[in-house]
Point group: C2
Chain length 346, copies 2
DNA sequence: CTGAAAGCGCTTACAG
DNA sequence: CTGAAAGCGCTTACAG
């Protein structure tokens, strides 16, 4: 059965399409009786306006696009959940695309979203993304854009971030407060802003505490996977017998490292203290429970949509955009993988 | 800047819109020169056909809807990834909605997708879903529907499932083979077909092995969460001092139970053997490593889209639908949370 | 209070 | 090889 159209309703009732349309939308200049008739019939026939016809007229698709590097990922799936929840409240639908950390894919997907005439785009950049022309395409076409988590500082748009540098500083400071002298860092790939910032925060904390910075203690990971965590944990011990602390980007990697250390009989935190990043719930389940930085994914998703929504509204009202960068709070969650600073001080 | 239209291209080149349209789509009856000119200009202006106008004409949105109970969930996010990947290959976009296990939300979302004129719908039912009228709306409007994982047997459409009953039977048999006599079952809510089937498989295995079935050993969980796993692990031990095995729906719950047992000093598998379900990667990380049933999420996603694609094609060619139920293979992954049958037999 | 008409941006059967 | 015309299903300014 073909979907019911306004025309059918109008013909059945012997009125014009115009009146039928207005009746459904409660225009004040339609009689109560007509409204009732139209609405009843629409209900009976299960009429739903053809969203494409509406969009074509109104230029509003009530749909936004979302590009994330990876869907199967605790942090991003939390963000997705936040975005969908908030979008639904405002009557927006979300098309989700996954860049697999690839610049090429990301570019294609922006194109796709552009041709789908989405009302706005939310993006967390791929690790492989080094230039931002594809984002410019959005700007040029006046499609509102909000970046979150993995952002590009140069791109002029609203952003939702955490203070990666500060969070990493806090994490490293915590290790130092626990008496660590030789602190390694498992960092992410070279391009993403957040792995740069976390590295910078780590380094700064060392400098501020007069702990010598040793580049050979910094390991660059590609996948940020559990297996990489295991691999580099073992490698680190081979390279440096004297490490006593590690600040690790992403709990998943940290849990890999803990697993390997457990297998090797290394005691955590007695031999090595570990701080992770993200506060994935598994980090409170692993043995020993992982000290980490809490990174609010769900909230980030909600906030990102809210910012996007504001810009969509601004655009509709022909107001100039008002780019904002919202910084969400992070928190150090102290657990068993570090000696508790508070205890060792008393 | 407004998006470029066909009209602008045609006017710039001094040709008709018709010809411009045909040139871009490589119709054979357009001269090479015209084609070249049009294509070049389109490229320069970064022209992208307005998808809504196209859809309005062609009745094809090249978009499908996906409804899952929960996004932040390892199994479902794997399915999502499979679906997006496969959809992209065929040029389809995916709108993702989350029902939060609520029938009401699910219903609303079907409505939304219907008004968005998606070409097809993929769904895994909410736990709260007890009737299927909302799915009928899809059928009536001739929108292809494929269900996966949490399906309704009565609904007449294509499905992708695993043999939950057989898998649960295998899991329970494995516990019995390991000498377990008092086997508990942590099952899911009452409505979903898969928690019913798993329960049935569990029961059947007991009966076939002359192990008495004791209803008080079956616990019904609501959330299937980590915390519920902990809670019921403790409760189980209070209720039944003599349990020696548990078959637990979902690794997440099983990991909760293991965590609680570890805290309580219960030895796994010496005191109690445990088999989980899903083969979430954390199950090979937890201590002891969890014996479980492997449930192929990514593959399920790919398969579900493939089935949907076939039906979309059938519909376009005005062929009758050909509903199929694809059963994906599961596998028992034996790890440390059960005594290894092979070893104990030799 | 009602409706004819224009138009959103495309595609395609048809005529020349 | 090219193009005028109809139409997809709506919305809305305008006339009556």
């Amino acid at each position: 059965m073909k979907p019911v159209t306004l025309k059918q309703i109008a013909e059945t009732l012997g009125i014009s399409i115009t009146t039928a349309s207005k009746a459904l939308k409660d225009y004040p200049d339609v009689s109560k009786k007509t409204k009732r008739l139209v609405k009843e019939l629409a209900e009976t026939l299960n009429y739903k306006p053809n969203a494409f016809a509406v969009t074509l007229r109104t230029k509003e698709s009530k749909t936004i696009g979302l590009i994330v590097p990876e869907v199967v990922h605790h942090f991003f799936s939390s963000v997705i959940k936040g975005i969908i929840a908030q979008a639904e409240k405002k009557g927006y639908l979300v098309i989700i695309l996954q860049s697999n950390e690839s610049y090429e894919l990301e570019k294609k997907q922006i194109d796709l979203l552009l041709s789908k005439r989405v009302d706005g785009v939310l993006i967390s950049l791929a690790n492989g993304t080094g230039d931002f022309k594809h984002l410019n395409d959005l700007m040029v076409q006046d499609v509102p854009l909000v970046m979150f988590d993995k952002i590009a500082k140069i791109v002029n748009c609203s952003k939702v971030i955490i203070n990666d540098r500060k969070a990493a500083y806090t994490a490293t400071q915590h290790l130092i407060d626990n008496g660590c002298k030789r602190i390694a860092h498992f960092r992410g790939p070279l391009l993403p802003q957040n792995s740069i910032d976390r590295f910078l925060g780590y380094k700064q904390a060392l400098v501020d505490n007069n702990v010598p910075y040793d580049p050979s203690l910094v390991y660059i990971l590609d996948d940020m996977s559990f297996d990489e965590g295991k691999y580099f944990a073992e490698k680190l011990l081979k390279d440096h017998k004297d490490v006593d602390g590690i600040f690790i980007n992403t709990d998943l990697v940290a849990i890999g490292a803990i697993t390997k250390f457990n297998e090797m009989g290394i005691k955590i935190p007695d031999d090595i203290s570990i701080v992770g990043f993200s506060n994935w719930f598994m980090s409170s389940v692993i043995n020993p429970r992982l000290t980490t930085i809490d990174q609010p994914g769900y909230k980030m998703g909600k906030t990102a949509f809210k910012l996007l929504y504001k810009e969509i509204k601004k655009k509709k009202e022909n107001l100039p955009p008002n780019f904002k960068t919202v910084e969400l709070q992070t928190e150090l969650i102290i657990r068993e993988s570090t000696k508790q600073a508070s205890l060792s001080k008393t």
